[in-house]
Symmetry: C2
Subunit: 119 residues, 2 copies
């Protein structure tokens, strides 16, 4: 088996940096394809391809507007990623670092007691 399809879920779709840039841009509002391509200096076909992936995982939606197609961010699709990473929040909180240090000190103290008892 190869790697999971980029269209399998938001995690995979968002692994590609250019797609993240597109999402950043769309956070400001609906945009047509060529606007995105021009802004980010990507070629139009590549933008269309990325947008297709983003659409398939539900991160963007489209609506026709004349000759243009306006792509709109669906930020909710990123919530699963946000939620998952949030469960690791402790690891970059100072308060947790301090707690961690504290627990380590306790452990060391217990170990010295053990050694005492052994003798």
């Amino acid at each position: 088996m190869a790697r999971l399809a980029t269209t399998s879920d938001a995690f995979n779709a968002v692994a590609e940096p250019q797609r993240r840039l597109i999402l950043n841009l769309l956070a400001h509002g609906e945009r047509p394809v060529n606007y995105i391509a021009g802004s980010l200096r990507f070629k139009q076909p590549q933008v269309s391809k990325h947008l297709r992936v983003l659409r398939e995982v539900g991160l963007v939606s489209v609506r026709g507007a004349g000759q243009q197609r306006l792509y709109k961010l669906n930020g909710k699709g990123l919530k699963p990623i946000h939620d998952w990473t949030k469960t690791f929040e402790n690891f970059w909180n100072e308060s947790f670092d301090r707690l961690d240090d504290y627990l380590k000190k306790l452990q060391k103290r217990e170990k010295s007691h053990e050694h005492k008892n052994e003798k």
Copy 2:
């Protein structure tokens, strides 16, 4: 060019579901390879490979402990992902939905005024 290497950054490393499961497990503390393999019912070589990827992007660290190698989560490596998704937080907040509706109403109202003036 093919897809970016899984070792290019945390976003890519974490796109693989099994690696996320390993990280979830390591959130409880240091663990040896076989413990992980047994817990998640993965084959040992595959676990070693996944751990290698996670180590190369700095999401875990290792230390030898006798014959075992204890892997430890470095949760801070996930902060960039958390931070990035956080910039889209508005999109799944109710309060934002209400604000969005409100802005849309305002826009509609302005448009009707425009039409009045046109006539």
